[in-house]
Each structure stands twice: as structure tokens, then as C-alpha cells.
């Protein structure tokens, strides 16, 4: 039940952060601030929860990043296997809109003809999941009392 509540909260935060960041792109600079805020809020979510056994933390991170994982896999699947890879990457970028301003700071660097942000976006489910787990570990280490 706690895992379910945590995952729903993370989905809601990501959804509304996506909308806010997409609007903030109109105000250059503000979009970067909101992207950083998104990372802070996700970190806070990881740190403050009760019952944060490693199992529950990992399950939360996995379920939260499941859509991103599936989209990443579709993006690199051979054409015809799961549909157009390009369309999958398109949706993947929309799903990770809260991170787009941060990715835009990686402009100009290429690996094998693709911009580095392409690889970071593909790995975003793992990176965000890892970040969540590290933040939760930090919460346990400093002995943050659970909010519920």
C-alpha cells in the first residue's frame, strides 16, 4: 500500500512537472530552475518516507520508471519489432520533459554521430531510479524520521 501511494505521488509529480517545465521553456532560464526543482522534489520524496526497506525503495523506483524503461527499449528496438523506434524516442522525450532543460545543457557533444543527450535520455529510467535510491539511502543514513 505504501509503495502504491509513493508511486502514485511520483507519477503525479512527474506529470505536473512536465507540464510546468514545458510552459517554462517559454521563459529561458526558468525552465532550468524548474528542472533542478524537479530533481530536488524527487530527492525529497525519496528521503522522507516511512518503511523504506531496500525492497520497497527498489520496487518503488522500478514501478515509477517502468513507462520510461519500456519507451527506452522501444526506442532502440529494431524496426518492426515493436513499431517505429523513432516514435518511441519521441514519446520518451515527452515523458522526461522535466529533464529536457538539463539535457539541453549537454548540447554540442556527440558519440558515434548522436548527441550525448540521446544516450542520457535512453538511460534516464536507470539514472532517475538510481538517483531515487541514492536519495533514499541518504535519508536512512542521516536518520530522517518518516513523515507517516
Amino acid at each position: 500500500m505504501f509503495i502504491f501511494k509513493r508511486v502514485i505521488r511520483l507519477y503525479l509529480i512527474q506529470l505536473f512537472a512536465g507540464i510546468a517545465v514545458a510552459l517554462a521553456i517559454y521563459f529561458p532560464g526558468l525552465d532550468l530552475a524548474l528542472a533542478f526543482l524537479f530533481c530536488l522534489v524527487i530527492g525529497a520524496e525519496a528521503v522522507i518516507y516511512k518503511g523504506n526497506s531496500w525492497r520497497s525503495i527498489l520496487v518503488t523506483a522500478l514501478v515509477w520508471q517502468l513507462p520510461g524503461l519500456l519507451l527506452s527499449m522501444q526506442s532502440i528496438a529494431p524496426a518492426g519489432m515493436w513499431g517505429e523506434a523513432n516514435y518511441g524516442f519521441f514519446v520518451l522525450q515527452f515523458w522526461y520533459t522535466p529533464l529536457v532543460p538539463l539535457l539541453s545543457c549537454l548540447a554540442g557533444y556527440f558519440i558515434q554521430g548522436k548527441p550525448i543527450y540521446y544516450y542520457v535520455l535512453l538511460g534516464a529510467p536507470l539514472l532517475l531510479g538510481l538517483y531515487y535510491c541514492l536519495a533514499a539511502a541518504l535519508g536512512r543514513r542521516v536518520g530522517v524520521k518518516p513523515a507517516i
Binding site: F27, E45, F94, P115
Partner: protein
Amino acid sequence: MKLTLIRKLDLLIFPLLGAILFTALFIMEYRVFTDPHAIMRTYIKNAEQGRTGYGCAGYYNNSISFAGLEPGDLVLGAYPGCAYGRYSHVGIYLGRGEVMEGFVDLGVNRQPLEHYRQYREICLLRVNAPRAVKERVIAHVSEYEGRLFYPLAFRPGERIFNCTKIMWKAYLQEGIDLAPADDLWIVPDVFRRSPRVSVIRIN
């Protein structure tokens, strides 16, 4: 108590910021929100009829001739069923068979001109400007190479681009506004309708 407050703030902060930003955008761009020909209205209207995104991608083997293209010319491609207009995509011709354009997975990048044959329709446009101006436009466009592509990139800003913003911004730096009408975004059709261009060829 502090942690309970953080819990509530975490959930509320982005809806609140989104509402504030939307309100600010609405006030600043009021005319766009009330314009029946605005791109977002076009998109919504087409989406209601089942058209989404850039349309039905594929390889349509267009046989248009690219002879006579000069650096600075615009190359528009159309897939059937595009939700934001007749044309799905645009690039700017750099010369030597190369185009600068934007894709979601490649960002702003150079591609061979010949790949446009995948589009069902192609339109070649020439911007009415001196060669020296176009050479500077090409230089501006080259500076954007590697920047991030995001479909909903607004006009302001230098970090995030979509396909139309690349050449719009480059020409704007030379005092040529290919999309002077008020709107949040620019679609390839706007270039087609611009009084600053002439049509070289359509197929």
C-alpha cells in the same frame, strides 16, 4: 510537522507553478489563445479528426528534382495526416547536398538532402534575400548544430529548438522574419505562406 509540510509541498508545487506559468503565458500571448487560426487550434481540430503528430511516416520515393538549389533555400517535406498543417518538416539547404534540420534523436544536425525523397510531398522555397545575407544565415545555422530538439520549443531561447526554429531564428538574426504572425510556435506551412519566399518547385 516539517516533513508533513514537505509532503504536501511536493505534490502541490508543480501544479501551482504550472497554473502560474499558464496564466502568465495567457496574459502575454492573449491574441494567440483567441486566434482561430493559431497552431494549437489547428492541431486540436486535426487531432479530433484522427490526425496526430507529424503524420504517417514512411518512404514515399518522391521524384522531385533538387537541381538549382542554393544555400539558404528551404526544403519542406509532407507526410499525409500531419496534425499541424500540410507540411511535416523543414530543413535549410547548406550546399554540397547537405541540409541542416532537427530530429528528436539527433538534435540539430546535418543530413543528406536526398533523404527528403522519403516525403510524399516536397516544396522547395527560396528566401528573397541577397547571397551575402544567406551566407551569414548559414553561419548562424551552423552554430546551432548539436542543440537539443524538442517538438514544443517556443520561439524564445537558444538552447531548445524544433525544425522550424532553426531557420526562423537564423534569418531573424539577419532582419528577415519568415514568421511575423503572433503565435507560440512556427510550423513549416508558415514558411510556405511567407511573403519573403518564392516557390522554386513543388512535387
